[in-house]
Symmetry: C2
């Protein structure tokens, strides 16, 4: 029934027609969602400043059109007819049916009045958040955030049912980003990382106290950082015919279709690693999108399996490849040639992997990163459960941060106000970053086992074999498999934190001579 | 009932509600149409080459959503209720009602399947056209163009009725660009220019044969042309906060809202006037869009009155201002300072106004320009009438061109393949360029009469007074008035070809000492 299954004649008649109609309908919806992303890309990279009011009109109009498609009553009919024969469907059709059902169910459970209240509150919320971050005053943000939390709790109740308990409420929101995941399980999983990460952090701190840390990197001109970023694109096989690299305030990657996946990076002269590793991070996302089987394009199965899997690909490309000792062997002379440093690969390796406690998640090293996530996961679960008031959030953040990191954020901008997520109603996203680290390490460990002499290849700046392996094991499947299935099949084992902890222990034991 | 008429209490109840509902609905439609234009802008300026297939999906999905809004049965209800009290509506509401009716009437006549077939065929058509122009082979383009012509004939039949004659078919397409215009009347009007233009052309040719013509301009580096283009933006009051200048194969201007109107230009080292006057041309369009009363934004009255009026503003800015002797007084030293020439204003004036028969419309001087339009008008009328096959188009172009210009295009790229319009399904647009010349000359003549010492101001590079006058007389009205009303009120006389012919006669008599 799917185009790749057109020789499957077992089903015909009404179900076949329902499938074709559903696919045509979803094709439009997927295209509109890509248009929404193009509006975002343009806003962040190209739009003149005064275009913002018109952009709100554009976004609202496309969202209304997309919502109508998602909530269209005909979808329920098509889905009903296909569900009756779900067991007999081949995998692509089954995935398209499953994803269409998820999309439709979410859309019809949320009343239009709530959806538009959320749209208004989050659009307003982001503005208030930005102003309050600039003013460095959390109190300014409290009323807007309190409204958003209340609306998202309402949305969760619509999705999970009126009698849902606190865990079920959070899970309903999480499900949008990590299908099938459970907040309590994630909290336990990520919590299990804490002892090892804390121990590593403390052992490193001891060594640093004794013999100092890697120095700040030397500044690199903006032009040279962009040239190096383009070089990273080139060796990653990310070509100008299917993508482009622009600058934006916050780096991101967006896919508009199988031949058009664009990334951005941020360039600051005095923070060259921020730019170069943002480029590698976004390349990891982009290669994933470009690697999804193009036959799945514009179907709901043609997207990344989950945000956790998506993030695994960006973190893998950024860290397991880009920050490896082997890759630094290739990268150091390229950086030196453009006026940066250090030119010595071992020194570059130490510099880009420097461990130091800090307040900002996006600047965190691999040891501290997941601790930042744990903090956010606990706090957002408590907010959605109703166990924590927004008015107490800053105090609670400070208290928890101090306990976890041994330092207290000096202000709100470097604390509770640093992330945009909650201001736009995004709850349940943070844990997918940590899942990405866990999945990414597991997949990278398997890749390293299977690809002979990976380090030799990386040291030559050859990334094609790694990309090909990832495409085969992860990218091409899109959403045909669950996150767990993908990790299981790619690594031969159920997802676990062991590969991440082993990787971190080995890497930092060597780097800091622990 | 419109926001600017909220103190009008004569109407209330159902009609008031119908008006509010209609405005909210049209607001969404206008926003989706701007999104469509953003997809075009992106495709022409930023999109990686392989993004084209996905872009066809985006275009089709937005077009389906827009078409649904245009054809929505509720529009007929709202329009019906308001039409019953049309006489009592204030002007803004009347214009919104009239335009909404036009839009709805056109839409309900075009089936959704045809609309999306056209979106796909034209998105594809443009790519085939570009490739075929690069390869300089019209035959490559024939199948795509034949499909597009057939689809547009279908659209015309849907709009004009199954029994419509050839003239009515063409008029139905023309109406989208020049409301109320008739192809046969335009052919007669533009045809009436031919004797005067031909006479002027021949007298100039005689002088050129005797004493030669202005030489080719010296090449100017691409960077300097872009710098001069940015200077033209600056003196036109076109600011980076509300627009941007990019490069594209075919220069254009698009508006995404009152604070975001973008232009493009084309840069070739050896043809500096092409770039600089394309920039002036597109600036004329952009200033118009930026000058429309912002209270009309995202209403169907908040657009240019017609493409003829739109083109009058671009041709006026390009020719009556940019190619004037006075403006050359300011422009010549700016060009010379950036390595171009001639530095002598009179010589620059002669160079940018050099009259010579040529193959390319967009490079044509003001004497030949309308003859290029006449050719295209006749050919597209014949294509839509079914009197001319696409396969014969190149031969017919060559034959007609030879007769009109006395020279034959040496190849397809300099003949039938030079314009993008037909490849994107745009039939009925070409005559609006000639209308623009006619309207533009009439408006410029009135402006010159009313603005004291316009030449003195232009010679100082001051364009703000001209822009302010045009905003007051033309821009701000949007679609509140018809093209004829705008010209009548701005000039004090009904539109006629006399100001254009007088202007050309005077200009070239002086330049060529006829």
């Amino acid at each position: 029934m799917h185009e790749r299954a057109s020789d499957d004649h077992r089903r015909s008649g009404p179900a076949h027609k329902a499938y074709d109609a559903l696919c045509a309908h979803m094709r439009q919806l997927m295209a509109l969602e890509r248009v929404q992303e193009l509006l975002t890309w343009d806003q962040e990279t190209m739009m003149p400043a005064s275009g913002i009011a018109a952009r709100a009109e554009h976004n609202a109009a496309v969202e209304v059109a997309a919502h109508r498609l998602r909530a269209d009553a005909r979808m329920a009919e098509w889905i009903g007819m296909l569900t009756a024969e779900e067991a007999g469907l081949e995998p692509v059709a089954r995935a398209i049916l499953r994803e269409s059902r998820r999309i439709h169910d979410r859309a019809i459970r949320i009343p239009e009045s709530l959806a538009s209240a959320i749209a208004r509150a989050t659009s307003h919320g982001q503005v208030v958040w930005a102003a309050s971050r600039r003013a460095n005053r959390f109190a300014d943000f409290v009323p807007a955030l309190a409204e958003i939390v209340e609306l998202m709790r309402n949305e969760a109740r619509c999705l999970a049912g009126p009698d849902a308990g606190p865990d079920a409420l959070y899970d309903a929101l999480l499900d949008a980003f990590e299908p099938g995941a459970r907040g309590a399980e994630l909290a336990a999983l990520l919590g299990s990382l804490r002892p090892a990460l804390t121990s590593l952090r403390e052992r490193i701190a001891e060594r640093v106290a004794m013999r100092g840390n890697a120095p700040d990197p030397a500044p690199i001109s903006e032009a040279a950082q962009l040239e190096l970023s383009r070089l990273l694109c080139a060796i990653s096989g990310y070509e100008a015919s299917t993508g482009r690299l622009d600058r934006s305030e916050h780096p991101f990657s967006l896919s508009f279709g199988p031949g058009d996946v664009r990334i951005t990076t941020r360039v600051r002269r005095e923070a060259p690693w921020e730019c170069l590793y943002a480029t590698m991070h976004e390349l990891g996302h982009a290669l994933y999108d470009l690697g999804i089987d193009p036959a799945l394009a514009f179907t709901p199965a043609g997207r990344s399996a989950s945000m956790g899997i998506d993030e695994s690909q960006s973190r893998l490309w950024e860290n397991q490849i880009g920050r490896s000792r082997a890759f630094c062997g290739w990268f150091a002379p390229e950086i030196a040639r453009r006026g940066g440093g250090p030119a010595d690969p071992a020194a570059l390796h130490a510099s880009v992997n420097r461990v130091a406690p800090g307040f900002i998640r996006t600047e965190a090293d691999e040891v501290h990163y997941n601790l930042h996530i744990l903090l956010r996961l606990d706090l957002e679960r408590a907010l959605i459960a109703g166990d924590l008031e927004v008015a107490e959030l800053e105090t609670e953040w400070r208290r928890r941060f101090g306990r976890e990191f041994g330092i207290e954020p000096p202000d709100a901008a470097r604390g509770v106000l640093q992330d945009v997520h909650w201001s736009v109603g995004v709850f349940g996203y943070f844990p997918t970053y940590a899942l990405g680290n866990i999945y990414g390490a597991a997949v990278a460990t398997a890749m390293r086992r299977e690809l002979a002499d990976l380090d030799g290849i990386l040291a030559a700046g050859e990334l094609a074999p790694a990309r090909a392996w990832l495409r085969e094991k992860v990218h091409r499947h899109g959403r045909l498999k669950t996150p767990t299935e993908i990790v299981q099949e790619a690594t031969g084992a159920a997802p676990s934190t062991a590969p991440l902890l082993d990787y971190l222990e080995e890497k930092y034991t060597q780097l800091y001579e622990l």
